[in-house]
């Protein structure tokens, strides 16, 4: 295993090396940095200032020397200075932390949601639940991220915040909520639950009561809870933030800082969760259907193993294997930042780091970004391979 990992990592070194050369050329081709262009377009531009900027960006050194300079520093962990003479490494480290906060939360939620929904829609294939979630999944991977994030922000969160200031509900809305809640409860309990062979007791009652419970909870939280909301009186700010990854001055106390983070996290992570859910639920559903029709599941059933055990012990665990590797691969790729989502919610993560560096045509930050992204993609590729081999004993690594 260790040998395999070592060999895989060794193979990737020339690839990363080549990638660095190609991106270095591309970045050099971008043209002169914005800062220099600004300095040159000034009417009273002093030649000395321009010369010092040209020096700073090494524009007069040959490309090859520039590259060797850069890479000899880069491999030692020195990412260089950007146009403002700040250290690129500390900048990108800050961006990574912000992106990780978003990514870890969103990824965990979307994987859990995707697994749960995919599992149920595979067990209850061709039921209303299956059709509704399939439709939702198709919708979410047909929506451009810009549209989804923009929609959630301006029509979801901003409207919700406005409403949350004076949370009142008309009777018609209350009744509608109750009906929707009851229908949800029914949909969840009505279809054949194939987890156990015992008949379901009083399904209808169970469904209606679950629905009413959901609806009542909804009403209590929003109608009663919010009217006397202390938080709102103390805070003139909107509840769910739509700008930035934290308040300008985040509270010092740990718990309230986490709460502050959470309210900022909600918008962008909801976007990523919906997109991720769409992919993972389809993936999980397909994988689960595949295992459910396999021979060992049929064998387990014919031995008389209970349906719940067949599903969770025999099928579910095997169906998770391909999903695990897909999640690992996605995680590596997503570390480049959710560029669009971050821009719409004004997060200062990796995506924003990249688009700002690209706008300013700053070579050092761009190279650092591309190389870190590339290393992450490669690393998580290896992680995916190793996970696959660990989880599936039929696969040998050699």
């Amino acid at each position: 295993m260790l040998q395999f990992i070592a060999r895989r990592l060794l193979i990737t070194i020339p690839i990363l090396f080549l990638a660095s050369i190609i991106t270095f050329l591309l970045v050099a081709k971008l043209g002169i940095p914005q800062q220099l262009e600004n300095a040159m377009s000034k009417p009273n531009a002093s030649p000395a200032a321009i010369r010092s900027l040209r020096n700073q960006f090494e524009l007069d050194t040959p490309l090859f020397t520039r590259y060797t300079n850069w890479i000899s520093h880069f491999v030692r962990g020195d990412f260089g200075l950007d146009g403002q003479r700040t250290n690129v490494r500390s900048d990108i480290w800050r961006a990574i932390q912000v992106t990780l906060r978003l990514l870890v939360f969103a990824q965990i939620m979307s994987v859990l949601l995707g697994i749960a929904v995919g599992l149920v829609s595979a067990i209850r294939q061709y039921t209303a639940f299956d059709y509704i979630t399939t439709g939702a999944a198709f919708l979410f991977f047909s929506i451009p991220t810009a549209v989804l994030a923009g929609f959630l922000k301006v029509y979801g969160i901003v409207e919700f915040n406005r409403w949350a200031r004076h949370p009142t509900m008309s009777q018609a809305v209350l009744v509608a909520l109750l009906v929707i809640g009851a229908l949800c409860g029914l949909a969840l309990t009505k279809n054949r639950l194939r987890f156990s062979d015992r008949p379901q007791p009083k399904k209808l009652l169970l469904g209606v009561s679950a629905g009413i419970g959901i609806a009542l909870g909804f009403i209590i939280v929003f109608k009663l809870g919010w009217d006397g909301n202390i938080y709102r009186k103390r805070n003139p700010k909107p509840l769910i933030a739509t700008i930035g990854q934290a308040s300008d001055r985040p509270p010092a106390e740990f718990f309230s800082r986490m709460l502050d983070y959470f309210w900022h996290l909600l918008g962008p992570s909801l976007t990523l969760i919906l997109v991720g859910f769409a992919g993972y639920s389809r993936y999980m559903r397909a994988s689960m259907l595949d295992t459910l029709s396999s021979d060992y599941v049929r064998t387990a059933r014919s031995k008389g193993v209970s349906e719940g055990k067949v599903i969770f012990k025999h099928a579910f665990r095997n169906a998770l294997i391909p999903l695990t590797t897909a999640v690992a691969l996605d995680f590596g790729a997503l570390l480049s930042g959710a560029i669009i989502t971050e821009r719409i919610f004004s997060w200062k993560g990796m995506g924003t780091f990249f688009s700002e560096a690209l706008n300013l045509r700053e070579p050092k930050p761009l190279m650092a970004f591309v190389m870190i992204t590339a290393v992450m993609v490669v690393l998580f590729n290896v992680v995916a391979d190793v996970l696959y081999a660990r989880l599936d004993p039929r696969i040998r690594l050699d």
Binding site: L139, P144, T373, V377
Partner: protein
């Protein structure tokens, strides 16, 4: 007429009337089966019809519509939707309806170009790697890894930022040139398994050359995965174009694409919501249709699947 039914004991085996037992077997070509299966997927058929209608509307609509997509009209700035301007007008008085027609047309063209380039490159590279194996395979697959190491959006954004005055078709060409690795991996996998099959061995025993084996014997068997993946590339390309244009690195004025309309429309959501809503709906509709068609095709080509869909 129970008396006609032959007695089981007197005529052994003749439990079924003669004319019922005789039936003709109609030979059905493979593509006929596939079309039949596709037609059974109702959502996919509806999507196909819808997509054809949208395409006709986007390409031939501008001929008949009274406004064009570029003329400014200072007297008709920021009008909300009406019979005269069904999708309203923007802050320069350009007609929303004609801009969405034009944008849909461009977005579809972009998607088709990306899909064609991706498919051609991916299948060629995958086929060479999978068929010849050995060093050809190693080199081509390392090359694929190299391209996969940098996310497509990042790569094309950097490339596109380097040519600020490029014509619109550079974007789809770039997306196609760097978007083929997935297709190549699929094609390679299929080639690796198909080249070991008996029919290829038989062809080789008859003295068939490599070129003929690749084109006549193996490639037709890949039609399913290739067509499905090419379809899904179309919707992927529409979304990627939107993302790039949203960052200001894709289609630029005076060209119009759905991504550009969304980029322009989103900041105006509170004052002129129609500038966001109509392009958003157009893009979702097109890409939803393409995805459903892809799903239908996947089901139709999957030989393991023969159950009737509910």
């Amino acid at each position: 007429m129970t008396d006609i039914v032959p007695d089981k004991e007197s005529v052994p085996g003749a439990t079924v009337a003669l004319d019922e037992r005789e039936f003709t077997i109609e030979a059905r070509a493979q593509w006929k089966t596939i079309i039949r299966r596709f037609l059974r997927h109702r959502l996919a058929v509806v999507s196909l019809v819808l997509l054809v209608l949208i395409t006709i509307w986007a390409f031939f609509g501008p001929i008949f519509w009274k406004y064009d997509y570029f003329s400014l009209n200072t007297k008709q700035k920021s009008l909300s939707p009406s019979w005269d301007h069904p999708f309203g007008t923007d802050d320069l008085g350009k007609d929303g309806f004609s801009r969405i027609m034009r944008g849909t047309q461009r977005s579809l063209e972009i998607a088709i170009i990306v899909s064609i380039i991706t498919t051609l490159m991916g299948v060629t590279i995958g086929a060479l790697a999978g068929f010849y194996r050995g060093w050809v395979d190693s080199i081509l697959m390392r090359f694929t890894d190299l391209i996969l190491v940098i996310p497509l959006l990042v790569l094309v954004a950097v490339l596109s930022a380097g040519v600020p005055k490029a014509p619109w078709y550079t974007i789809p060409v770039l997306l196609g040139i760097f978007g083929w690795p997935l297709m190549a991996r699929i094609a390679r996998g299929e080639f690796l398994s198909l080249r070991e099959k008996e029919f290829v061995e038989a062809a080789r025993a008859l003295g068939v050359g490599n070129r003929r084996i690749i084109f006549k014997h193996i490639l037709p068997n890949l039609a399913g995965p290739i067509i499905v993946n090419a379809t899904l590339t179309v919707s992927g390309a529409i979304l990627l174009e939107t993302a790039l244009t949203f960052l200001g690195l894709g289609i630029r004025e005076p060209e119009v694409s759905l991504g550009l309309l969304i980029q322009k429309g989103l900041p105006a959501y509170s004052t002129r919501p129609w500038l966001f809503w109509f392009p958003a709906m157009a893009i979702v509709l097109v890409s939803l249709c393409v995805n459903f068609i892809g799903d239908g095709l996947r089901d139709a080509f999957d030989p393991k699947q023969n159950r009737v869909r509910a």
